[in-house]
Amino acid sequence: MKTITSCLATIVCLCLCTFSAFAQTPQPTPVKVDSETISGLGARNIGSAAMSGRIAAVDAIREGQRLTVYVGAASGGVWKSVNGGTSFKPVFDKQPVQSIGAVTIDPKNPKVIWVGTGESWTRNSVSVGDGVYKSVDGGDNWTNVGLNNSERIAKILVDPSNTNNVYVCTPGKLWSDSDDRGVYKTTDGGKTWIKVLKGANASTGCSMMSMDKSNPQTIYAGMWDFRRKGWTFRSGGDGANAASGSGLFKSTNGGANWSELDQNSAKGLPAKPWGRIAVAVAPSKPNVVYAFIEAEMPKGGLYRSDDNGATWTALDRSANMVWRPFYFANLIVDPKDENKIYKPDGPLIASNDGGKSFSNISGGAHGDFHDVWVDPNNSDHLITGDDGGLWYSYDGGNRWWKADNLPVSQFYHVSLDMDMPYHVYGGLQDNSSWVGDSAYPGGITSSRWENMYGGDGFWMFADPSDPNYIYAEYQGGEISRINRKTHESRNIKPLPLYKEGKLRYNWNTPIHLSPTGDGTIYIGAQFLFRSRDHGQTWERISPDLTTNDPEKQKQEQSGGITVDNSAAEMHTTIYAIAESPKDPNLVWVGTDDGNVQVTRDGGKTWTNVIGNIPGVPKNVWVSSVEPSHFDPGTAYATFDAHTFGDMRPYVYRTADFGKTWTPVVNEAAPVHGYAHVVKEDLVNKDLLFVGTEMGLWVSLDGGKQWAQYKGDEMPSVAVRDLAIHPRDHALVIATHGRGIWIVDDITPLRSLTADTLPKEALFLQAKPSVQVIPAGGGWANGDAAFVGPNPTDEAVFVYYQKKRHIFGDLKIEVLDSTGKVVGTIPSSKRRGLNRSTWPMRLKAPQVPRAATAAFGAAIGPRLLPGTYTVRMTKDKQAYTTELRVVQDPRSKHTADDRRAQFDLAMKLYNLLGNMTYSVERINNVRLALEERAAKLPATDPLAIRLRAASAAVDDMRKKIVATKEGGAITGEERLRENLADLYGNVNGYEGRPSATQVARADVLAHELGDIEKDFDAWLAQELAGLNSELTRKNLETIKLLTREEWDAKNAQK
């Protein structure tokens, strides 16, 4: 070891020498701030699984008798269950993307999992992926095996005859041309890939693929020509009869050659042009092939071939078959019955007659279905995923059971109120607008979230001027003011003037509350509206602030073959609104077509400052504007160019009301993903947060360095919005795919600066620690329910270490105002920020040993609010910080009440200690009596007398403690049990104890005193005589255990 020690010393010396050498240079490199510097400040994920979120793909396999399920969330990673869905764990959280398009389990080896990233249900809010991932150990570890530029993947097929042969169906990029699309094949388990089927043009990729598993060389692929722009979408060409690259293809030699199946080559197929195509071979009878073909009505619909694709028959073309093909184009045939087909659509529809007719089998599920898994052993057992999560049916789709354990909720925005604990508000993709508790006794179950409105939800606020009301909206600016208790809602959307035509409201229409808190509210169409009377009247305070480009206003023609004008493509709209906290007349507006407009006179005049922002691509979305809390001229803005195929983050700052702008995220920064939101801290102007499609990024120095926040394994999920609680200093993170995450106190980040980072270790200021009202709650939820954790109810302190602590002690103690150590705490060891907690309690009282444990007395009294000192000793260096402990602001107890409670708890605490001494004192005598007796012949009169004395003494002990053994509920109560119960009750309520409790404390003290007196009387009467008899027999006399001896013994412990 000596060698190693000296070796280490050399390294340390070298580093020091090096440091001093570099210290001579004028500008030392700042300490690197990376993910782990900041992520020790953990976050808690409060869900919710109540509304859950969109599921894109499902696969399952039996391992023995048990069902293993893999679920691909649209933007929330991959989840695995090994018990048929009773419990899930996320298995993809360490990967850099969370959008999933396809999940396929190797049919020969259930430990091999293929995941295609990038969802293929290409709605306007869809995320992006970065290729194919493979796990060979059931999802523990993943490797990206290629196709990195595919952006999205619709299907992966594994050849069951040789599982190294894998086919990937990739639609490819949604927003831009690309050659990285089509059908790819590997023959070496993913090491190398070749494109086996190419699209007709740079916007045509593979939309669905199916294999004849009995003859895996036979593959069908639907090729799809598609493109989305901010203002339009086409499935197929630009119009019902425009040229399209879409087509259906078949290979019978493992993808080496393909023949196109169309009107000419395969009788019965409709005339082109086509849009999105789904195809499925019936597993039980592979000559039966189904294809859903999007084509101009009445040509579009379901087609069936009974001869391996040679000829086709047109079947169902009901509304739910042909609705929104870009979002619903999947067919699942029952594994055993070729005539039973499922078509996920708005509703889930099913046919039992080979596709002639379909019924809606959605039952009580959410709707907007995307995938179905049918149990090959039991066709009644189905698993489906839709926009509202995952659902199970055990009766063939008649009824559905909701998975309440997938917190993959897709928030667009978040806001907070000033309740205690505060509530979290936000709207979600196809999942309305919800209010949830940020904390609740027992944890945040699904029932602690309440739906307040409908449709797709976006911005949502409590009305600060009347907290009985909430503002929420659904798509296209349908804003309502909603009564929180009755749920009565009143639509208050600003409406067009005479002959004005349409007001252009974005899908995700911005609503903004004035930071003045006076209830002023804004909403943006192409004009900005302001209301000061809860939406009763609206002032139009701007001209059209957009480019008003008529080419981007043709939504009635959007959709390609199937018109789809749902407000999702509404463009040339206002997308961001922000009133300056420093000046209510200073309002910023960002539009989806690239304008940044500012007024400094409450809307009388507007200036478009986009021309002053160098480097921002033209006409991109201004995704957020954040006016500074410190200086009226300063503002931040994010720009999102992903709808032009540019996924880079653009974040800028102005300090002169928009005249000049500088990038806040420079090109070298590790930030990636298109930017949704920027927030400036409320206290430290250099502390910035940026949410992108790939996660949350933090800068401690005004944008010079950035680090991804990954506290508590928060994955690289889209961060759409952020809110900082002004009272609680919590950062609330709205993710689009993994619900709400909360960093309970960001105060420590505020003091992590260039000055503090180079230090070996230091404490960072945290907010005062609240003694949360002790309260129980919740009940057994089973294992199939998600429950969001509460913030800790312990005192929190935060320290920073430049390096992980590995060798030697890292000791943390808490001292009271007199310098007495009142707590010793296990320390966290990580590099960067560490968060440790102290329960604010004394050690548990001493309790006499009895038949059973008295759990009510297993914890000590909670100390009174006040100022404590935390002392950290790291190696030999000591660091201290002040810890302020305050009463729960909700508590109605006065300081005197609390003091009375603490004093009574301490009285009982000490009484338990006295009782323990009394019992030990009795036992000490008993032990001596028995020990001396054992040294005498059993029939010796003294031995008999000693044993009788022991029994007499033991009777006294048994008046103090319960002694019946056996493990049954004996109900035996003695003074100890009564006292421990009373202590537990007084300790558990931090208000004034009841008079009954106060009196009972005295009663118990009195009763204990009586027994002690009896024992003393017995000693006075018997001990001298016994001792003289012992002396006569040359045996040691019996000495009493003194309180001093006993205390000294305890101190040693």
């Binding site: 070891m1 190693i4 390294i11 070298l14 090096t18 050498a21 990376d34 993910s35 782990e36 510097t37 020790g40 808690r44 023995g64 048990r66 570890n141 954790p789 109810d793 312990e794 390096k803 992980r804 602590h805 590995i806 060798f807 002690d809 890292l810 010793t824 296990p826 320390s827 060891k829 990580r830 590099r831 960067g832 907690t837 329960p839 604010m840 309690r841 050690k843 548990a844 309790v847 006499p848 040993r849 009895a850 038949a851 059973t852 444990a853 008295a854 007395a857 297993a858 914890i859 036992n923 008993r926 032990l927 028995e930 403690v961 002694t963 019946k964 053994e965 056996g966 493990g967 004996t970």
Partner: protein
């Protein structure tokens, strides 16, 4: 300055790139860092005295005793009652005294698996081949901001542990454990720190563990670890049925602290030590 740079270059060479590492090299460096095989082998018994911290102010003294080759006894005390989990190389047993039943009972499947793992005196990496364990180097993975070598250790039982070894010192800073219980995986995480020397062997004095993904951690801090203290084998054997439970003896008294009579079964060589 030039000299410093040269030395720095030398240092950089010392830092072997991850790809050049093998599992055996990492394990060898670990063993060397913590004291070497001789020092480890010279330790025949260990007694660890510590504090269990379960959060919310719940603390309890604990005692862990290990004896070569594979005996272990773990005690957890509250209000004078002591729970025991122990294994003598053949039989795993427990005493759960909290509700008034003090008899030794056999360990259930999960606790048994755990204690058999805990009975491996010097851990699964030392002499791993002899023990039938398999070690693979999976590459680098950061642990809470510190670069770590990730080793996959497949125990002879088939259960898997991932060891995350600090890249400067080659000691484990985190262990992920998977145990198959009734056919289902149970996953745990353990963080290790405060390594200190005990008879020439560096061991962690701070151990935090939790069910994987659960933020509630059980934290153990050892105040004292003693090596080569005499520990009688009887401490690890499952006690016979309590004499007091036999017919004709006095009524059972769970609260009785008196030592056993000399005519009863042999007393332990040393009474349980409380910290």
């Amino acid at each position: 300055m030039r000299r410093v740079l040269l030395m720095l270059a030398g240092l950089a060479l010392l830092a072997v790139p991850a790809s050049a590492q093998t599992a055996d090299e990492i394990v060898a460096k670990y063993i060397k860092t913590v004291g070497g095989a001789d020092k480890i082998q010279s330790v025949k018994t260990l007694r660890k005295l510590g504090t269990f911290n379960g959060g919310g102010g719940f603390e309890a003294p604990i005692v862990e005793e290990n004896k070569r080759n594979n005996m272990v006894r773990q005690e957890f005390s509250l209000q004078g009652l002591t729970a025991v989990n122990a294994y003598d190389g053949h039989t795993g047993w427990k005493i759960e005294p909290w509700q008034g039943k003090k008899d030794a009972e056999p360990l259930g499947e999960e606790a048994m698996k755990q204690i058999v793992e805990d009975s491996d005196f010097d851990g699964p990496l030392v002499n791993y081949q002899q023990k039938g364990n398999k070690v693979e180097f999976l590459g680098m993975e950061p642990v809470e901001g510190t670069d770590a070598f990730k080793l996959k250790v497949t125990l002879a039982s088939g259960d898997v542990r991932y060891y995350f070894m600090d890249t400067d010192y080659y000691v484990p800073i985190k262990i992920e454990t998977k145990r198959m219980i009734r056919g289902a995986e149970r996953e745990y995480e353990t963080s290790l720190g405060d390594y200190k020397e005990v008879s020439g062997w560096y061991m962690p004095f701070s151990v935090e563990s939790n069910v994987k993904g659960n933020p509630n951690r059980a934290k153990v801090t050892y105040q004292k670890i003693e090596a080569n203290v005499p520990i009688d084998d009887t401490r690890f054997h499952m006690p016979a049925v309590n004499a007091s439970a036999q017919p004709g003896t006095k009524p059972p008294d769970a609260a009785d602290t008196l030592p056993k009579r000399t005519d009863e079964k042999k007393t332990p060589a040393k009474p349980p030590t409380k910290p």
